[in-house]
């Protein structure tokens, strides 16, 4: 009795997707499972070559997977061609039709669905206004700046009234300041329309800034899918921790009493750590502080490197190197003996790999 089911069908579901490109032995996607809640924004994060773009191609119907199934709002669409699927794609370049005005570009999807020119233009104008470009409706793409063109591309994708909006690194070609504006616009529009959205990005701050959930991909598989804050605080593996900018990993094991045994002694762990047995203690560089007191360990400064206003410091402890990001001030010099404060709340343990 599906109508009694407590969880609604996800907006987009990828089930055991496997894609191998001709002439390649390794699959680019290897049994990938991914759910995007209806009306939510999922950021697909991962290093280049991890299969993010292929995932978009599969979800949009531009590529049929060798194995696996695609569902949109509970309906299987694995073999439905892109034009009948309702999964609109926005690429890094706006891909506007150069011989048509901004308005006619945005009217394109409605025209393709057989709506009259007048009708299509009326709703196109509304979509252009939504992205703040109503005044530029008559301009041709060559008369728009990169940011404006990408906003038109977003309006055009929304005008298709898609079941899912797929954004493949849409802001990567833009200036950093513009990128922030575009992110804000995207979150506003996405929440307003509650359209299920997948944002592909290799930029973790972008992912954390806009997404309801972040899916971290590596080598064609899902490493972890979680809310951004959870992903940072509770990485599922060493690979996730490393990708999210947490290079510190002290080997040891979690005792049955939930303490971390390592050459530094037995360290306290937060209650949330459920893992027992061999693992790595991870702690984000910005959580570590210098200073004496409880929860501190002795260390020798190994290297000091300025990083903008901050200072990146690596200090050797008995259990291994600890990375620290120090706020502005006078950093210690190499070979100096320091005490590192590792706040218990920020400690986390990931299982030992392999």
């Amino acid at each position: 009795m599906p109508f009694l089911s407590s969880t609604p069908a996800p907006g987009l579901r990828l089930e055991r997707i496997t894609v191998t490109y001709p002439g390649h032995r390794e699959p680019v996607l290897d049994g990938l499972d991914l759910d995007v809640d209806d009306g939510r924004l999922l950021a697909l994060l991962g290093p280049s070559g991890c299969g993010k773009t292929t995932t978009v191609q599969v979800a949009s119907g531009l590529l049929t997977p060798g194995r696996g199934a695609v569902y949109l709002r509970g309906t299987e669409v694995t073999r439905v061609p892109p034009e009948h699927r309702g999964a609109a794609v926005v690429f890094q370049q706006p891909m506007l039709l150069p011989h048509r005005t901004a308005l006619d570009n945005v009217a394109f999807p409605a025209r393709m669905r057989g709506r009259s020119n007048r009708d299509a233009r009326t709703s196109a104008l509304a979509h252009l206004e939504r992205v703040g470009l109503g005044a530029l409706a008559a301009r041709y793409p060559r008369q728009l700046s990169g940011g404006q063109a990408q906003r038109v591309a977003l309006a055009r994708a929304l005008a298709a009234e898609p079941a899912v909006l797929l954004l493949d690194e849409p802001f990567s070609a833009l200036d950093p300041s513009l990128r922030h504006t575009m992110r804000d616009l995207l979150t506003t529009v996405q929440r307003e329309l509650a359209v299920t959205t997948v944002l592909v990005t290799h930029d973790q701050t972008e992912a954390a800034a806009v997404a309801d959930t972040v899916a971290l991909l590596d080598r064609g598989g899902l490493l972890q899918q979680a809310q951004p804050a959870d992903l940072y605080a509770r990485p599922a593996s060493l690979a996730v921790a490393r990708f999210l900018g947490c290079p510190t990993a002290l080997p040891g094991h979690v005792t049955p009493h939930g303490r971390f045994a390592c050459p530094l002694g037995e360290l306290d762990l937060p209650d949330a750590v459920a893992h027992r047995g061999p693992g790595h203690l991870v702690i984000r560089p910005e959580a570590v502080q210098l200073g004496t007191g409880p929860d501190t360990v002795a260390a020798v400064v190994h290297s000091v490197r300025p990083e903008g206003a901050f200072t990146a410091l690596v200090a050797d402890t008995a259990a291994g190197p600890v990375h620290v990001l120090l706020p502005p001030g006078t950093p210690p010099a190499p070979s100096e003996h320091v005490w590192l404060h590792l706040p218990v709340a920020h400690r986390w343990v990931v299982p030992r790999a392999g």
């Binding site: 150069p98 008369q143 298709a160 200036d175 513009l178």
Partner: protein, 280 residues
């Protein structure tokens, strides 16, 4: 100064191309022309009337030539576009070899090619008929269309098509609204070249057409070589030269219009804000 040089150069170039055509014009419209007059005493359309007579075959040959050239232009361009698309967008394993094979007809001496092709066509029952000639005109035309279309596809972004598909455009709608407009200059250049190759093709037409299929070049050569009728030769010469010139003119005008819309198809930089009404 620069402008004057520019104009002078242009004038010289025009003269270079037009000068050989001048005698043609004079001969084609000459009436009475007695020695030692440098130019005819009067001009008339008499030769054109003569040429229009059915027994001269001029109108029929012009029709045959036009039909063959248009067919070749369309077919060779379509095939060239498909071959280029495959080679550029899908990068097949032996792309280099395929490319070489497609360009082979311009590398092999035409006569060797023509004799071989004739042999094959006779066996296949394709000789002595327009369809066979149309088919054989593809051979010298294809290398050019393939090359031009490879150039056209080199700057083509297939994601434009993909975006349109995901926005609800069927394959045929994508072809109409995205692919053809984007490739229009290359298609036009390719069709023009194929038209010209077919329009001036002689050797293959003689061998495969077997004298039954008469095109303008065939008629022109036989008239020039055998009849001694310089006026009729001039008329045929004009008929042979005019369509390509017309074609280039129309093509150039179309290209200029297209360039106005497609130049800077993608914004050059994300921060530059272009003013409205910029035309290149």
């Amino acid at each position: 100064m620069r402008r004057a040089l520019h104009s002078a150069g242009f004038a010289l170039l025009t003269l270079w191309i037009a000068a050989p055509l001048l005698p043609l014009l004079i001969w084609a419209f000459a009436g009475r022309w007695v020695y030692p007059a440098l130019v005819p005493q009067d001009f008339t359309l008499r030769t054109w009337d003569q040429a229009a007579a059915p027994q001269q075959q001029v109108i029929a040959a012009t029709g045959t030539s036009l039909g063959l050239a248009l067919t070749t232009a369309m077919t060779a361009t379509a095939l060239g576009a498909m071959a280029a698309r495959g080679l550029v967008l899908y990068r097949p394993p032996a792309a280099g070899l395929v490319r070489l094979l497609l360009l082979a007809p311009v590398l092999v001496p035409p006569f060797a090619l023509a004799v071989g092709v004739q042999e094959v066509f006779v066996r296949a029952g394709l000789s002595d008929q327009p369809a066979g000639v149309a088919l054989v005109h593809l051979v010298p035309a294809l290398p050019y269309t393939v090359l031009v279309m490879i150039g056209g596809y080199a700057t083509y972004d297939v994601r434009m098509e993909q975006t349109a598909r995901t926005l609800g455009a069927s394959r045929s709608a994508v072809l109409r609204h995205v692919t053809l407009p984007a490739l229009a200059p290359a298609l036009l250049a390719s069709a023009t070249l194929a038209f010209l190759v077919s329009w001036s093709e002689y050797l293959m037409t003689v061998l495969v057409g077997g004298g039954v299929v008469t095109t303008l070049p065939l008629l022109l050569f036989s008239t020039a070589a055998g009849s001694g009728n310089q006026a009729l030769t001039a008329v045929l010469g004009i008929l042979t030269v005019a369509p390509p010139i017309l074609l280039f003119g129309v093509g150039a005008a179309l290209l200029r219009r297209h360039r106005a819309a497609w130049a800077d198809a993608e914004p050059a930089s994300s921060s530059s804000s272009a003013a409205p009404g910029i035309e290149r």
